[in-house]
């Protein structure tokens, strides 16, 4: 196999990984702040991808241009879900917590399935077919742009959490709920905000993915799983962790496709995950 093909595949893995970062960060954020695992995370991504699709075909918007709208819509959805559903079950039994987002995922996914059918859609977008050619390595332009946006957003999130009041409140709540409350932070509000942001990020990822990938109701679960693997690999509870973990997942996918058959690349990711869990359950940066 040519070296350039290998390098191209690995680079693509990194590009894919950076988009996964947005999803992983969201999953990790919800966990960190509310201690809930959002089984529906990937499905919110799917929702946003469809929004981008419809905006493209009915309004003529380019997926990249849809990003602010997709973020806003998903932010609202995340906020509302947290406010009316999840806030109620935060103190409830483990059963309720585990099954609520799970049931939510089913509902979101299958509402789309029922109303729009299982057909695969895609956006025919000049960007999707363009590619950058450097020394025999072809990388899709859409993916490069997606990566650039993902990276900027990751940095923006980091700055937001470090420098703004809301960001600090979010960090405080994720570290110690009671202490944060004592310092005057409205925890319920903070949950809504952080879940909103987290789902919003998944929304951005959805719009980005819409620019170069297929869109159909079943794409949700695989993104949830990939984000989950990323978060565990990187270490539950850490931003750098989620980022590195996501990049690792992208790379593992490429390696899996190279070494075996592309169809089982996710099996490779999972196997690596299992091995990693066995030898280093805390993840790379975990607590």
């Amino acid at each position: 196999m040519e070296l350039s093909l290998i390098v191209q595949s690995l680079l693509e893995g990194v590009l894919n990984g950076s988009v996964y970062t947005l999803v992983a960060l969201g999953l990790g954020l919800i966990w960190g702040v509310t201690e809930l695992v959002n089984f529906a995370h990937g499905d919110f991504l799917m929702l946003s991808a469809f929004v981008a699709y419809f905006l493209h075909y009915y309004v003529g918007l380019d997926p990249i241009e849809s990003i602010p709208i997709c973020f806003a819509i998903n932010f609202l959805i995340g906020f509302i879900v947290q406010r009316f559903l999840l806030n109620r079950i935060i103190e409830a039994h483990l059963l309720a917590q585990t099954f609520s987002t799970f049931a939510l995922a089913l509902i979101v996914r299958n509402s789309f399935y029922v109303s729009l059918g299982p057909d695969v859609k895609s956006i025919s977008n000049p960007l999707a077919t363009m590619a950058v050619d450097v020394m025999g390595i072809r990388l899709s332009t859409a993916k490069i742009i997606a990566t650039a946006i993902a990276v900027s957003l990751t940095i923006a999130l980091y700055l937001f959490l470090q420098k703004t009041y809301i960001g600090t409140a979010i960090r405080a709540v994720s570290q110690n709920r009671v202490a944060a409350q004592l310092m005057g932070v409205n925890t319920k509000q903070t949950y809504c905000l952080s879940t909103g942001i987290a789902v919003g990020l998944a929304g951005v990822a959805g719009a980005l993915i819409a620019s170069y990938y297929y869109i159909f109701p079943e794409i949700g679960p695989s993104f949830t799983t990939l984000a989950f693997v990323a978060v565990v690999l990187g270490g539950i509870g850490s931003i750098q962790g989620a980022t590195v973990g996501a990049l690792l997942v992208g790379l593992l996918q490429s390696i899996g496709a190279l070494l075996f058959v592309p169809a089982i690349k996710d099996v490779v990711v999972f196997l690596a995950f299992i091995v990693f869990l066995t030898i280093r359950p805390r993840g790379l940066f975990g607590d």
Binding site: F99, S100, N110, V267, L271
Partner: protein
């Protein structure tokens, strides 16, 4: 914990469990004789298979607190083991047990990495595990890949569990189910039952009183896997064709979960009630609507499951079993 009865009537509960089981089995055994409808008999068979898988599921989920979203993996492994051994000439009675063993071994193996994760992360991991296994089987020629496996024709009879008339399959399933229930009941009444429930309530306390929590969680997974594998094998011997999407898909895991949660996850009898009530209705609805809506019906199916689950979990996590208990308690108080 919402859902567990707050009145302390252990003996009442014990006798209720028994009566419920008797009533359900009576219904299972007698109704196909009265209502001799092919479709209905099939639905009861599926219900029995789900009952077994469900009871196995609650050993992990309800008793130990390990909520699995990936039971399709055990189900599928049992199914494939039976299919392969059957076609190699092994009697299905042995194949059933082998199916359970393979699933149990797999459970033991994945318990090491998976039990490193706590709570809902564990649950997510079981989901990923089942999907990965399905993907792998779908690309593995040895098991037929996406083409699946079809059981060879054999002589009719009890030896090969192959019958011209479907009703006999049901009685085989019932026998396996009852035997499994007896075994599981013994297991749950032994120290295993005490230890696993302690682990569910407070793992720290369990450790402090001398329970090797990892070992018992692993054991719960192995036992659960074993009986779910048998359930998968039971499915195969009846429907005679399997592929990764029929037996290892998330849909199987979901069905198992829904009937267990609906019936009541903190008791062995819950999944029995749940399966008995939900499965015939689900099958019927699927037959009626499936014709009109085709592929889209599949989505409605899942959508309704999602809504049911959400409602159950928010308002009655103890399931139907809990409702029955409360009714009984109400009457006793008068």
């Amino acid at each position: 914990m919402v859902g567990l009865r707050s009145l302390d009537l252990k003996s009442l509960r014990r006798s209720i469990d028994f009566y419920i089981a008797v009533i359900c089995f009576g219904f299972l055994v007698v109704s196909p004789l009265i209502y001799n409808n092919f479709f209905y008999i099939n639905a009861l068979y599926t219900a029995s298979v789900l009952m077994l898988a469900g009871v196995a599921w609650v050993i992990m989920g309800g008793y130990t607190g390990l909520i699995s979203f990936g039971h399709a993996a055990f189900f599928g492994l049992g199914a494939y083991t039976l299919a392969l051994t059957h076609n190699w000439g092994v009697l299905p009675w042995l194949g059933l047990v082998l199916g359970g063993c393979v699933a149990a071994l797999f459970a033991a193996a994945v318990s090491y990495p998976l039990l490193r994760l706590k709570g809902r992360w564990f649950s997510l991991a079981t989901l990923a595990m089942a999907e990965a296994l399905k993907l792998y089987f779908n690309n593995w020629d040895f098991v037929g890949g996406s083409r699946g496996i079809e059981l060879f024709r054999k002589e009719y009879g009890l030896e090969w569990i192959y019958f011209a008339s479907p009703i006999y399959y049901n009685y085989v399933a019932y026998a396996v189910l009852i035997a499994s229930l007896i075994v599981l009941n013994m297991i749950v009444k032994s120290r295993f039952g005490y230890y696993t429930q302690a682990i569910r309530e407070s793992e720290e306390t369990a450790m402090a009183v001398g329970i090797n929590t990892f070992r018992y969680k692993q054991l719960a997974m192995v036992v659960s896997g074993f009986f779910t594998g048998i359930a998968g094998a039971l499915y195969t011997i009846r429907f005679r064709f399997i592929d990764p999407f029929a037996v290892m898909d998330f849909a199987q895991s979901l069905q198992i979960i829904v009937i267990s949660v609906a019936g009541g996850i903190f008791t062995l009898v819950g999944p029995i009630i749940g399966a008995l009530i939900i499965t015939p209705i689900a099958e019927y609805v699927r037959a009626v609507l499936g014709g009109t809506y085709g592929a889209k019906f599949f989505g409605i199916h899942m959508l309704i499951y999602g809504v049911i689950l959400l409602a159950l979990v928010l308002y009655s996590p103890g399931g139907l079993y809990d409702v029955i208990l409360k009714l009984k308690e109400g009457r006793k108080r008068e």
